[in-house]
């Protein structure tokens, strides 16, 4: 049977999130799959136009409703379920958006979800990490029901562009609840490269000691044109906002270069950087577990090494 996959687009109301094109890459690993994207928004046009350019995509469905202004799972899920009846698979990105929404879709359809697909082994067989990445499970979804899944974005690259898929309006009339209301979004938007898409990331840990000292991480990152990340300890201590956290409960990233500074390398942190190209560690303790995974290690006091490195980069 041919697989028909519906990919749920992630966007901020204006632009498409690159996680969508990565999810398409994951879906395209299923042999012969026919892939559609659905854009649920209050105004879908510009987002759909972006989605239509993604390689492998046959059609872009748009569902425009005032209630879709914010991505509220309880509002979006019933609309997706209506559309899902035409598909064998419904995929979303394993971001906070997808993790929030997709299990709600799955439950309404009476199925479990395959979380965090890291590789596609067949139309119903996938590999996914468990125990913070300490093990990989090969799982099989039931053949006789729709597969609802999220794609682990660090395992996939952004699908190519240049396509011009057909854009179709697919408005649904299903009732949506009003019991959940978004009142505010506080985001520390900066000009720096986004942590999840940056090709280089410089990250700091507890050892930085203060928000003020953390500035040296930003200075090094700026020299490298890198995004900035942090360990949980650095976020908890208030040196940086939560959206910079890398790891099991933060972001799972796959930059070409990751520089970990004053980070010990707890398993929960390492699971977030497994797919990095080159890992560099600067730590004053040579016994630190971070050195077990580092491609290049430097045992040094960060307070002298980091300014020196920043200077050496010119």
């Amino acid at each position: 049977m041919i697989s028909k996959i519906l990919v749920v687009a992630e966007h901020d109301g204006k632009v498409l999130n690159s996680g969508t094109a990565k999810t398409v890459s994951c879906a395209a690993c299923i042999n012969g799959a026919e892939i559609d994207i659905v854009v649920l928004a209050s105004v879908a046009g510009p987002i759909a136009a972006e989605a239509a350019q993604i390689e492998f995509v046959s059609r872009v469905l748009t569902v425009e409703r005032a209630e879709n202004e914010h991505a509220i799972a309880a509002v979006l899920a019933p609309q997706i379920v209506v559309l899902a009846s035409d598909y064998t698979h419904v995929f979303g990105p394993s971001t906070t958006f997808g993790k929030d929404l997709m299990p709600r879709v799955a439950a309404l359809m009476g199925v479990n979800q395959v979380s965090d697909i890291m590789s596609v082994e067949g139309s119903h067989t996938f590999k996914r990490p468990i125990y913070a990445g300490s093990a990989v499970a090969k799982v099989e979804a039931p053949a006789d029901s729709v597969v609802v899944a999220t794609a682990r974005l660090a395992s996939y690259s952004v699908a190519g562009g240049g396509n011009s898929a057909e854009i179709v309006s697919a408005n649904t009339t299903v009732d949506v609840p009003s019991h959940t209301r978004v009142t505010e979004l506080k985001s520390g938007a900066t000009d720096r490269p986004d942590l999840q898409t940056a090709t280089r990331v410089v990250a700091g840990g507890r050892a930085l000691g203060s928000e003020e000292n953390f500035q040296m991480i930003y200075r090094l990152a700026d020299k490298l044109g890198a995004g900035v990340g942090a360990s949980r300890a650095a976020v908890d201590a208030g040196y940086v906002p939560n959206e910079l956290q890398v790891g099991q409960t933060g972001k799972i990233i796959a930059p070409d270069l990751y520089i970990a500074i004053g980070i010990s390398g707890a398993i929960q942190h390492l699971t977030g950087i497994k797919d990095a190209g080159t890992i560099v560690a600067i730590n004053k303790d040579e016994e630190s577990p971070i050195f077990e995974v580092a491609d290049i290690g430097l045992v040094a006091d960060l307070f002298s090494a980091v300014p020196e490195l920043t200077k050496a980069l010119g």
Partner: protein, 249 residues
């Protein structure tokens, strides 16, 4: 609000280095330290604080699993929960079945708020709370790092990829919690003694009339790809040279 239900899953302690069995049939759990899922401990702490502030009158902890999970429920009672429910189900039920079990208890005990972890650190599924909210037809607020109860609504700060999102949900509702919500209290010895007298109800899956499935089958387990140990450099000059060598500068 009257009643808060908190899910406590028994999982391998987060400090344990989990290893895949050599025959690929599972992970090594023999003799391994088991604990309450760390997120669930935070969920319970929050429930207790809501009750302490007078915004709820009863905190109930629930675990679905083997009878060994009594241990985690007793710890929950020692932390301050009023009573516990153990739903006996053999190894690893799927999230949808756990959500259905929670839904049955929510209906039976007229629960106003369900607090769960944002994910169980064994299977890292992050599904159960959202699924319960779906089949219950109620709001969900996932990944909470702050919450405030105001009569019939709860204002929740959610940790999302872009930063922090603030949502308001009507009760009853399901909230899943993130690590920064609070720091759980330590259990004191007298509380452990007191907890022994608190009620712990045991129900079998069959008695609840819930048929598990359709589950996602695990075919096999394998260890993750290892990263080879790299090189150590002596100083910053060596580091810059090594980066240039790899074409990264």
């Amino acid at each position: 609000m009257e009643k808060i239900l908190v899910g406590l899953k028994r999982v391998v302690d987060y400090n344990v280095r989990v290893r895949v069995k050599s025959d690929g049939t599972g992970v090594e759990t023999d003799g391994v330290k088991m604990s309450i899922n760390p997120f669930d401990e935070i969920a319970l702490e929050e429930a207790l604080r809501i009750k302490d502030r007078g915004d709820a009158s009863e905190v109930i902890v629930i675990s679905v699993g083997s009878t060994d999970a009594q241990q985690q429920l007793r710890t929950g009672l020692a932390m301050g929960a009023d009573r516990a429910i153990l739903v006996e189900a053999g190894g690893g039920l799927d999230p949808l079945s756990v959500a259905r079990i929670f839904k049955a208890i929510v209906d039976r005990d007229a629960i106003d708020l369900v607090l769960l972890g944002k994910q169980a650190i064994d299977n890292d599924n992050s599904q159960t709370g959202q699924m319960l909210a779906a089949i219950w037809g109620r709001p969900q607020a996932t990944f909470a790092s702050h919450l405030a109860v105001n009569g019939g609504t709860v204002t929740v700060t959610r940790e999302v990829d872009a930063g922090l999102e603030i949502v308001e949900v009507d009760l009853p509702a399901v909230i899943t919690v993130d690590l920064r919500l609070n720091e759980p209290r330590y259990v004191k010895l007298p509380d452990i003694m007191k907890a022994k007298k608190k009620p712990l109800e045991q129900i079998s899956l069959a008695a609840m009339g819930i048929e598990p499935g359709p589950a996602i089958k695990v075919l096999d387990f394998e260890p993750p790809a290892e990263r080879a140990r790299g090189v150590m450099v002596k100083d910053v000059t060596g580091l810059v040279a090594a980066l240039k060598d790899k074409g990264l500068l």
